[in-house]
């Protein structure tokens, strides 16, 4: 019942901007929407609803609550930054309202993915995120956003159709048509190994368009490129996490299956290929938003490898996703502020940012260092844990491949960041757009990530322990 109330209120608030007249009213509704999300989490934690089944298809387990909390935190910043971003773009009130409606609907769809306790319903809500994202990607209404939107809907829909095929194969093990994860994890032991292998491949490949890993990562990169920067922050974190949670639930389901070892090898292969793609395109791209998107591909590749290795690396993979959410959203917000100063995302043309907006430049450079896993970055911790587990497993070839690829990534990211900070600028400047308050607010997420790198509170450790307890 609680979930139904939450969904009804959230959806009503999401569509309400379409009937109000002003941008101010839209902002108030967005603030209310944020409060409802926070209240929902508070209700689950404060009133003993943890692990309770809701509406037969949702369950408030630890992974759902952790990622819903993260999404809500990022959403608060997205709503604030979007307001400034859209005002600077001088868009019509109608577009402003439509944008907020779509972002809020996307948040509802993502929340449903997190809480979904049914293999088929996870698929349904993931497809719903495609529909909501499409409007956001097309929001700027230029030729490339149209192209990105078409590719996004088409590839996601086709990919997710493949994932549905995998779900159908997987559901052959279901007893009495019960598709909840707990029942299926017990029934999967008796599954046909060949069916289970094909199902895992199809589901992971289909969901890869959401988690932005190999092979369908391209549409996510294009989507981040075309969408407004604050929305890219949301797509590149909350939506990517929805892909991660969906794949993680399947992974946990397979833990009791005969083919689990094989599934882990598939994840390692996908992870290393994602890392390679990220390293290659981080060197090639000439656009800061695509640059950050390829960094997401690279980081999710590391997460897939962590899942494939298992043990301590699995703990590290979950921790990596949590911290990546904070760091990457912060960096997308900084890039959104940059866009209004330079009116461009071009890596080759813009520069001298340290003298133009020192707060923003420091935020971006610090973000880069955290992203590159320099201590006290939390990503340093997670990557060291993954490496130690790889060494313990004796997979030296994997360690060597990862280290080589990560050297390329460090060189590509660091050289481009220095270029932005200190090279001469070749584009026209709009200095009136410098907004230090926004730069400071974006840095808050980064500071939280750095604190997590130095000190992980007990509740977070326990939450991750519970999430990785899949045996």
């Amino acid at each position: 019942m609680e979930m139904l109330i939450y969904l009804v209120i959230s959806i009503l608030l999401a569509v309400l901007p379409l009937v109000v007249r002003t941008e101010r009213a839209t902002n108030i509704i967005a603030a209310l929407f944020f409060v409802v999300q926070a209240a929902g989490i508070g209700l689950i934690l404060g009133f003993g609803l943890m692990d309770g089944v809701m509406l037969s298809i949702f369950r408030a387990d630890t992974i759902a609550v952790v990622f819903h909390t993260l999404m809500t935190a990022v959403l608060g910043f997205v709503l604030v930054h979007s307001s400034s971003y859209l005002k600077a773009e001088r868009i019509s009130t109608r577009s402003y309202k439509a944008y907020y409606t779509l972002v809020m609907l996307l948040a509802v769809a993502i929340t449903c993915v997190y809480y979904s306790d049914n293999v088929a319903m996870t698929w349904v809500f993931l497809e719903a995120t495609t529909i909501c994202s499409a409007g956001i990607i097309y929001h700027r209404e230029f030729q490339q956003s149209l192209e990105a939107t078409w590719k996004y809907i088409f590839v996601c829909s086709t990919g997710i159709a493949m994932a549905y095929l995998g779900i159908l194969l997987l559901s052959t093990v279901a007893e009495h048509g019960s598709l909840d994860y707990a029942s299926m994890s017990m029934a999967i032991v008796n599954g046909n190994p060949l069916y289970l292998k094909v199902a895992f491949l199809l589901i992971v490949v289909g969901y890869s368009c959401k988690m932005e890993i190999f092979p369908l990562y391209t549409v996510g990169v294009d989507a981040n490129y075309a969408a407004p920067a604050p929305a890219s922050a949301f797509i590149s974190t909350a939506l990517v996490n929805a892909g991660f949670v969906s794949i993680y639930r399947i992974y946990a389901l397979y833990a009791s299956a005969e083919v689990f070892e094989w599934a882990r090898h598939v994840l390692i292969l996908i992870g290393i290929l994602s890392l390679a793609v990220g390293a290659m395109f981080l060197r090639r791209t000439n656009n800061y938003k695509r640059f950050l998107s390829y960094s997401t591909v690279e980081n999710m590749g590391i997460v897939a490898i962590g899942m494939g290795i298992g043990g301590v690396a699995l703990w590290a993979a979950v921790f990596h996703v949590i911290c990546h959410t904070l760091v990457k959203s912060s960096m997308f917000f900084q890039v959104g502020i940059m866009r209004h100063i330079y009116d461009s995302y071009s890596i080759n043309r813009i520069g001298n940012y340290m003298n133009i907006n020192r707060v923003g430049a420091v935020g971006f450079i610090l973000g880069t260092l955290v992203l590159l896993a320099f201590p006290p970055s939390p990503l340093f911790l997670s990557e060291v844990m993954i490496f130690s587990e790889i060494v313990a497993n004796g997979s030296w070839w994997l360690l060597a491949a990862m280290l080589i690829l990560m050297c390329v990534v460090i060189y590509a990211i660091w050289s481009r960041t220095l270029r932005l900070g200190y090279h001469s600028n070749q584009d026209e400047l709009h200095l009136s757009a410098v907004n230090r308050r926004l730069s400071y607010s974006a840095a808050v997420l980064l500071v939280v990530a750095i604190i997590l790198g130095m000190w992980q509170p007990d509740f977070l450790r326990e939450a991750i322990d519970t999430i990785v307890n899949i045996g």
Partner: protein, 208 residues
């Protein structure tokens, strides 16, 4: 009865691989919707009003009427007529036959005793046919048709492995797909208006 419907379904897939006009593609999709309705009804073991109602909505209304109507409207608005003139029909037919043989072979090795081998093979052939359409054709509209062929293949596949999902979940899945197709149709028209193109070769402005 079911076998003859399945054979007809295979024939529609072969014809789809060589059809040139998009109106014919749309008609074939409507026929496939009708055939799927017949197959689903023939496989109903007993009279369940809710299940029957759902089959009618999903196949007869959704696949045989609504989707073809959306596609026809897109054809009228964009005035696209036929697949690219440089496309080889012979090559497409050969690919289609290869896909059919591959489907039979894979089915032979994959299907277990709980699976209906004929359904499994035809569903696989439908999936491969959809993918071939997407890969071999340059026009965006053909890609949309390929996606719908895949969706029909998935429907057949669910019958092949005898999975019966709850009606509510089926309904949610159907709505998701319908909205996706509506949005795809809308964006296809917008691309025709704004970029003046209906070919995938023109969609290369985003690159690194």
């Amino acid at each position: 009865m079911v076998l003859s419907l399945i054979i007809l379904y295979v024939l529609t897939l072969i014809y789809l691989s060589i059809a040139e006009r998009f109106r014919n593609h749309t008609t074939i999709l409507a026929i496939q919707g009708l055939l799927l309705f017949g197959i689903a009804m023939a496989r109903l073991h007993a009279f369940h009003p809710v299940e029957m109602g759902f089959i009618i909505v999903e196949t007869l209304i959704f696949k045989a009427i609504v989707i073809p109507a959306i596609l026809m409207r897109v054809i009228q608005k964009t005035k696209i007529n036929r697949i690219h003139s440089s496309s080889s029909q012979f090559g497409a037919l050969v690919m289609s036959i290869v896909a059919l043989v591959a489907s039979c072979t894979i089915t032979y090795y994959m299907a277990d005793n709980r699976t209906d081998m004929i359904f499994f093979g035809v569903a696989l052939y439908a999936l491969l046919s959809g993918l071939i359409l997407i890969v071999m054709r340059k026009r965006i509209f053909a890609h949309l048709v390929g996606f719908l062929v895949i969706e029909n293949g998935v429907f057949l596949f669910s019958m092949a492995i005898g999975v019966e999902l709850p009606i509510l979940i089926n309904l949610a899945i159907m709505l998701d797909i319908l909205i996706s197709i509506l949005i795809l149709g809308m964006f296809l028209r917008r691309m025709d208006d704004d970029i003046h193109t209906d070919e995938t070769d023109a969609l290369t402005s985003i690159k690194d």
